[in-house]
């Protein structure tokens, strides 16, 4: 079978190269569909926010920015470790890849813990809840909760990828699963850039 080069280095057979392109397009379409899902919620939130009198509404506490900023740095840091994990896998440095993947998973878990602390503080100290704080509570918990669910799914996905790579499912030239995992994790980071901006910065 004919051997072809793939973007980013490496040589694979023609069949793999063809199916890789199709899988990549399919995965990007999946990410686009997720962008549409988040966009609809984000635009609904912005519309509601700008049609009220003041934001957050009177009597409702604004989520603390210090914890959110730290949590954001943790999640963005996990994006960087994930990127370098993939780079090290491509170069055949499996030990460094594994440690960076573990760091990514750990930082993802830390982010979820931070979000848990934030939810607990908002609920028990500031009495902000999903159902009892009007549009603000509903949109805040829906959007950040949906993002948190994506982070949770991402962590499960990365654990599976790590186990697969330990068992030799991927090699230096055939690693599309890892590329998809990295794309997904970056997507989760990028969505948080938007959510962090609209809930805490503006």
């Amino acid at each position: 079978m004919a051997v072809v080069s793939i973007p980013g280095g490496g040589e694979v057979d023609q069949l793999y190269a063809d199916t890789r392109e199709l899988r990549l397009q399919g995965f990007l379409l999946f990410l686009v569909s997720d962008v549409v899902l988040f966009s609809s919620f984000i635009f609904a939130y912005l519309y509601l926010r700008n049609s009220g009198q003041g934001w957050p509404p009177p009597g409702i506490a604004r989520p603390p920015i210090s914890l959110a900023a730290l949590n954001s740095a943790i999640l963005f840091g996990s994006g960087a470790t994930m990127h370098y994990a993939l780079e090290n896998f491509k170069r055949g440095n499996f030990l460094r890849y594994s440690s960076l993947m573990l760091w990514t998973i750990l930082l993802g878990i830390l982010f979820l813990c931070g979000q848990g602390i934030e939810y607990t503080t908002l609920y028990f100290q500031d009495h902000v809840s999903w159902a009892g704080s009007g549009i603000f509570g509903a949109s805040f918990f829906t959007l950040t909760g949906m993002h948190g669910f994506h982070v949770f799914c991402g962590i499960c996905y990365l654990v599976v990828l790590l186990l697969q790579s330990v068992h030799g499912v991927y090699d230096k030239n055939k690693y599309f699963g890892l590329t998809a995992g990295t794309l997904y994790w970056h997507f989760v980071d990028v969505i948080w850039v938007v959510l962090f901006s609209i809930f805490y910065l503006i």
Binding site: P7, L70, Y84, T179, Y200
Partner: protein, 65 residues
């Protein structure tokens, strides 16, 4: 130093580290071809922006407490 101040310091440090690491990765990947790498570049750029936002929020320059 109380907990909130520690959170601020860590956010600034983390944001700066993320910005530097993402910028270096973006520069290294700048000439890499392929559809997935183009998406990676876009996402690394946004990741670097996120690092800047986290650092500025940690410094108290942007955002409302």
């Amino acid at each position: 130093m109380n907990l909130v101040q520690i959170e601020h310091v860590l956010a600034v440090a983390g944001g700066i580290v993320v910005f530097v690491v993402a910028s270096i990765a973006l520069r290294n990947d700048w000439k890499t071809p392929g559809m997935d790498n183009q998406v990676f570049k876009l996402m690394l750029g946004l990741l670097a922006l996120g690092g800047v936002l986290a650092a500025l929020a940690g410094l108290g320059v942007i955002g409302k407490a």
